[in-house]
């Protein structure tokens, strides 16, 4: 008995020694890509990295995007977050910086910034860099269409470049008994996107960003208001789509998957969402006759057709890192930033545009994605999403939820605009200057 125990003890030490000699380090990464094709792309990314760096093991966890943020919060509050987290830009990044939960990696990022295509505001706050682009960009303001329906009713894709043309096309298909626009705003973010893109079109890039930043940067000076006529117009046009019966019947109740299923079943002519939908459509309905245009310009307003709302997610290092895991984690981030592999995987499997300047040679790039990348490179103007330029809480209640209120009749466009402006002014009173922000990291 005693000899067996000694033998087991020595064997255990030997095995531990082997592990020590092998130098294997394990790092944990969490992301919110729980469904294919993005989940497949993430898994392929981690696999490719581990092939290149066999001494670093990755343990990954994929979460659904709705509960992802609060799962992260619980992990942070409990002191046990993973080594690397995928972070959404805007309010989510702001929260983590404010909570001193992620590391400042400014020096690391500055040396590798030349390849990055993503807007810096998505991973830079208070003059410092807090993450690195994950690999892909999101083009937010796309209107997908069913090419068969357009062909059948003689609607040209070019006519959809203006608001008048888009409304005429919607009226035409509606008269044929087809729902013009598949839309599900149960969660509210889809409504926020409609408002965002309409506002971008009515204001143009400069005023759009100037207006939004009033509720992110304390002391930000601007004479613009959310209830100015041009800004109000965005709510009015959104309400008009509903009043004219262009949105699907489940607009206020259906969620995003229900809306895109409705579209992919051929029951609606148009579906507004971002470029990430291409992967979903190809995965779920590979033979669907899919086409797209950018969000239309609105006659008489400065926003240009082809302007792009663009954004992306990042990897960030959490404060839960030893010197060993931090070194391994930075190796992973370096690989993502300097090698083409991660971005190429996202392009090929996820069918999303790259966040880095990479070579697409030898890749099977979806023809629609290829066109989008080429057109986005020529865009007359681009901007991040509005909720990446504003305090998230405020944006959530006064645009996400307000967009539901317009559909239910609880809010008129004027009320929605007025309430949003009031909330922004309240925010500015609460944070008159940078010194009022709770985190020192944000005051830079």
């Amino acid at each position: 008995m005693r000899k067996s125990l000694v033998f087991m003890y020595v064997s255990g030490l030997f095995l531990l020694g082997l592990i020590g000699i092998s130098g294997a380090v394990t790092i944990s990464i969490w992301d919110e890509f729980a469904a294919p094709p993005m989940r497949t792309a993430q898994d392929a990314t981690y696999e490719a990295f581990q092939k290149a760096y066999p001494e670093i093991n990755i343990t990954q966890a994929h979460f659904q995007n709705a509960p992802y943020e609060w799962i992260l919060k619980v992990a942070f509050a409990g002191g046990e977050p993973p080594n690397i987290v995928e972070v959404n830009p805007g309010g989510d990044l702001f929260d983590k910086v404010r909570g001193e939960a992620i590391l400042d990696i400014t020096d690391f990022v500055l040396k590798r910034l030349d390849r990055v295509l993503m807007p810096e505001v998505d991973f830079k706050l208070g003059g410092k860099y807090w993450g690195v682009p994950l690999g892909d960009l999101a083009y937010g303001n796309i209107i997908w269409h069913n090419t068969d329906i357009l062909r059948k009713y003689g609607i040209s894709a070019d006519s959809l470049q203006t608001w008048t043309g888009f409304m005429a096309a919607s009226e035409k298909v509606k008269n044929q008994g087809i729902t013009p626009i598949a839309y599900g705003n149960k969660e509210g973010w889809n409504g926020n996107h409609w408002y965002n893109h309409l506002l971008f079109a009515t204001l143009g890039k400069e005023k759009f960003q100037e207006l939004a930043l009033r509720a992110l940067i304390p002391g930000w000076e601007s004479k613009l208001k959310f209830d100015d006529p041009a800004a109000l117009k965005a709510w009015e046009l959104y309400a008009e789509l509903w009043e004219k019966g262009y949105f699907s019947a489940g607009a206020a109740v259906d969620d995003y998957p229900a809306a895109y299923t409705y579209f992919l079943n051929g029951r609606a002519a148009f579906f507004q969402t971002g470029g990430w939908f291409l992967g979903t459509a190809r995965y779920n309905a590979p033979d669907f006759p899919l086409g797209y245009t950018w969000f239309p310009s609105i006659e008489g307003y400065p926003g240009k057709y082809g302007g792009v709302i663009t954004s992306g997610v990042t990897y960030a290092l959490t404060t839960n890192n030893t010197s060993e895991t931090k070194e391994a984690a930075l190796k992973f981030l370096d690989w993502v930033m300097t090698e083409d592999t991660a971005a190429r995987i996202r392009v090929e499997i996820g069918k999303v545009p790259p966040a880095y300047r990479i070579s697409l040679a030898g890749l099977e790039v979806d023809p629609l994605l290829k066109t989008q990348i080429e057109e986005a490179a020529r865009t007359p103007e681009s901007s991040p999403f509005m909720d990446h330029l504003m305090d998230f809480d405020l944006c959530y209640e006064y645009t996400w939820i307000a967009s539901q209120g317009i559909l239910t009749g609880d809010l008129t466009p004027q009320e929605a605009a007025r309430e949003l402006e009031k909330a922004v002014q309240e925010w500015q009173r609460k944070y008159p200057n940078k010194e009022t922000l709770p985190s020192p990291s944000l005051r830079g």
Binding site: K186, V253, D254, D393
Partner: protein, 299 residues
């Protein structure tokens, strides 16, 4: 000092304590302490990430809460769930319990049918009813279209009826359990009491009113308290089917707590909603127990 050396009373107490202690620890760690922590948090402002950024703000959360119109909508909707649980759900369970209390195959079959929804998780029930009720593709919508009925507004988008749809879905899921408890209570009533009453000429309605209902009182109180407190805590069904929308039309206290605490990153404010709800539930339970004992006080 060994067990043998102790006197009988001490030994009994020690043995009882050793059985109770593990559960007591579990209860303290997973129920009492989080409750106390939540109450304390309700007096703070905290984004939920770093413990070092918790800031004490006194009663500010409660002052804001009582002026918050969405909180009152959520509370009203929660009370509607409770009201229906105590009336409609109980009445349905009671009637079916009376009809199905016999031990035969038909009763057994229907008891299983009515209890089956209890076996399904609330998430699955929610997803199931989305398939039925979705205005775009739901079975109800398709059926109504086929028979030529066009609703002015989809049921779940109509704020006048959406909450009642959710209440009905919840009642369908929950009443089976109440029914089972009432059947157990009915089967515990001695048959000889009914036989004696029949011999004395009591008709069936009289037997129901003067015997069954009073004798079932204790079980009914338990059923109502369980149903009522569960209704106060309704969350999954509402979250899955409507997420509290559209525009807060179906918001209940717990979904609003979740929204403010986790989506809105205001843990302190969310805790104040949760604490207020817990206090209301406590008052409800104490009041209910007091009123239910009122008829049976001795003079």
């Amino acid at each position: 000092m060994s067990l043998q050396d102790m006197n009988q009373k001490t030994r009994t107490k020690l043995i009882a304590f050793s059985f109770i202690f593990p559960m007591f620890v579990f209860y303290t760690v997973f129920l009492i302490m989080p409750t106390i922590a939540s109450i304390i948090l309700s007096f703070t402002e905290w984004r939920g990430i770093s413990l070092f950024q918790i800031k004490f703000i006194g009663l500010n959360n409660y002052r804001e809460l009582f002026k918050d119109p969405i909180f009152w909508i959520a509370l009203r909707n929660t009370f509607l769930f409770v009201l229906f649980a105590l009336t409609f759900q109980y009445a349905l369970a009671f009637i079916l319990a009376i009809l199905l209390q016999q031990d035969n195959r038909i009763s057994g079959f229907f008891r299983a049918v009515f209890f089956a929804p209890q076996v399904l998780s609330l998430i699955i029930v929610g997803l199931l009813f989305i398939f039925f009720l979705s205005p775009s593709m739901g079975l109800v919508t398709v059926f109504l279209e086929k028979i030529g009925v066009r609703l002015a507004k989809p049921l779940l988008a109509d704020k006048r009826v959406a909450i009642y749809i959710l209440i009905l879905v919840r009642t369908w899921r929950e009443f089976g359990f109440s029914m089972f408890l009432l059947i157990a209570g009915l089967q515990a009533i001695p048959k000889s009491i009914y036989e004696a009453a029949e011999i004395d000429g009591a008709r069936s309605l009289q037997r129901l009113w003067f015997l069954t209902i009073p004798l079932l009182k204790e079980v009914s109180i338990v059923v109502m308290i369980l149903a009522g407190t569960a209704a106060f805590r309704v969350f999954e069904l509402v979250y899955v089917i409507s997420a509290g929308g559209p525009f807060h039309a179906t918001e209940v206290a717990v979904t609003y707590t979740y929204q403010r605490a986790f989506v809105g990153s205001r843990m302190g404010y969310g805790s104040s909603i949760a604490t207020t709800l817990a206090a209301i539930m406590l008052i409800f339970t104490v009041l209910f127990l007091y009123l239910s004992k009122a008829g049976s006080r001795r003079y």
